[in-house]
Amino acid sequence: MMKIRIIKRPPLPGWAKVVIPIIAIVVTLMLAAIPILIAKGNLWKSYYYLFYGALGTRFNILETFVKSSPLIFTGLAVAFAFRAKFWNIGAEGQLLAGAIAATWIGISMPGVPSYILLPLILVGGFIAGGAWAAVPAILKTKLKADDVVTTLLLNYVMIHTMGALLFGPLQQPGSSWPRSPEIVAAAKYPILFARSRFHLGIPLSLAAVLIFWFINKKTILGYQTKAVGVNIRAARFGGINTTAVILETALLSGGLAGLAGVGEVCGIQYHLLMDISPGYGYSGIVIAMLGNLHPVGVFFSALFFSIIIVGAQTMSRITGVPTYIADVIQGMALIIMLIAILFTEYKVRMVKK
């Protein structure tokens, strides 16, 4: 009988960290052929329109960047939390918290100029997301409540809170749909490229990548979150206030997710809607893992997934393969990346028993 043996290997050189995710992406795209063929899609046509839809025209490229912005934010949010082994699976709920805050501020302050209103909305959205993430962090550190379960369940609490608001105080007067009034013009992100939806949120997400990188490399908090993630007991023994570090991690992580929600309200929809997020919070998990929990990695994997998501629309229109192919690819990418990471740390040998 054959048996799998897993043996630790000496650490791979630095370039492997770049090459491995690329291999994972290539393998994922190859495996995506299976669902495409099952959907009776022509393989080459499907791949062609997948990339044409995302990168084929000026508008498509800009649209891919538009899509990447919330993914970068949620990817960074998850990456920052996972580095500290704070299992924040609640980016979706934190995103919604940010979107609700942005809407609330955006409809209730007419006459306030943009240069005051936008910073206010950004801070409000950040705090709302951060506060919502602080709840499971406090429950974890003070009451030992499992963070995976609480963050996941709080997503549903937030979805229904948003539903209650959209059928209640935030509902557009005279409407029976769950939809808020339009935010005031001063609350809208400026569009940076004519004839596109390329809004302020995209450079903001790029700035977040740099800030994340800076926090990781150059600040005490960056060092502490990593220490807590590697070995919480050793960190505590070494004099780190682990409770405070987890709480600060949660605030930052949730805040970043909140900014994803702000961008969707102020940059794209201008209203709050029930389907303001098609699961960006969950995509953030895949993006964080594919990006090796590194900010630059998160940026590139967010870009990859926005290519898939945007491209899948065109591909679906032309070949009839359902757009959910993008979700299947995301799931496959996460699983394959996990296996790929394993190969960087271990050798897998088949041995005869």
């Binding site: 379960v149 059928f167 895949v286 299947v328």
Partner: protein, 316 residues
């Protein structure tokens, strides 16, 4: 007089709804208990349930057989668990991330296959679901009869599964193996128990139950597939495993608690309060979190949970 009848009918209805809404959670909670007792956290549960829900529905609509739907849902649950076993048991990858990966993959796949078969119709297709079976004599008892003994066959089966799985875990050799593998895999290995195979078997058994739990939502208590048909019930089940301290009986009690909250919010919605119905929808999730918090301090996790077993990394 009329008020009294109304109240009794309210209670009967609430009890009936409690037991119905608890059924999928009982299946999934029992499944997760078997798996976690063997030392594996299966966060693939939510996606596995959704695939079960979709498969049960699809097979029923194409074959016309509800029981074939249940069977295939169980089979799909087992297949997804096999993938989980490959990743988290044999390759020893992070159980957290493997499970989430399976949930994301299975969720995407369920929606993909559904769209492939049905396109995006304006009115979702429906099937003729299971009918409740009234048990002769017992169903005639006032209040308890119509609520307890006029349920779906799958619900009755879930009640039988509670003692069966308790006996399996506590009274059989297999159960002893599962618990030892989850508490001390090194000791289990020393006495000749195949750790990885035991974990895989637990995963497959649990996965079948999760698949059935999902299918209950589309072909028994419901007659159509919607993307949010599972709606976090998998995560609720994970909370109930902790709430029930990894015990089938207490876990099922937790499932009944959620069923009660879910049934209550449905009934309250029907009373015509002037509050958005989403307020009622969030109650079960909120109270599940509170239930989880109430036991978290003394939760006794299986010692080897989250730890892959590698012979050469003793004590790691």
């Amino acid at each position: 007089m009329i008020r009294q009848i109304l109240e009794i009918s309210f209670i009967t209805g609430l009890l009936g709804a409690t037991l119905r809404m608890a059924t999928p959670i009982i299946y999934a909670t029992l499944g997760e208990i078997i798996i976690e007792r063997a030392g594996v956290l299966n966060l693939g549960i939510e996606g596995t349930m959704l695939m079960g829900a979709m498969t049960g529905f699809l097979v029923t609509i194409t074959s016309g057989s509800l029981w074939l739907g249940i069977l295939m849902a169980a089979l799909v649950g087992m297949l997804l668990s096999l993938l989980m076993a490959f990743l988290a048991v044999y390759l020893g990858l992070s159980q957290h991330v493997s499970g989430l990966g399976i949930t994301l993959f299975a969720t995407g796949l369920a929606m993909f296959i559904y769209r492939l078969y049905f396109g995006s119709p304006t009115v979702p297709p429906t099937i003729k679901p299971f009918k409740p079976i009234a048990i002769p004599l017992l169903s005639k008892i006032p209040v308890i009869g119509p609520s307890f003994f006029n349920q779906y066959t799958l619900t009755y089966i879930s009640w039988l599964l509670i003692p069966i799985i308790a006996i399996l875990l506590y009274k059989t050799n297999m159960g002893l193996k599962i618990r030892t593998v989850g508490e001390n895999p090194f000791a289990a290995d020393t006495v000749g128990v195949n750790v990885n195979r035991t974990r895989t078997l637990s995963l497959i058994t649990g996965g079948a139950l999760m698949g059935i739990g999902g299918a209950f939502l589309t072909i028994a208590n419901g007659n159509m597939f919607l993307s949010d048909v599972v709606g976090g019930r998998g995560w609720v089940s994970i909370a109930m495993v902790i709430f029930g301290n990894w015990d089938p009986l207490k876990g099922a009690a937790g499932a009944l608690l959620f069923g009660f909250l879910d049934g209550l919010q449905l009934r309250l919605q029907g009373l015509g309060f002037k509050i958005p119905f989403h307020v009622f929808l969030l109650i079960p999730y909120l109270l599940t979190i509170i239930a989880l918090i109430s036991v978290s301090r003394k939760a006794a996790y299986p010692s080897a949970l989250l730890k892959p077993y590698r012979r050469e990394e003793k004590g790691g």
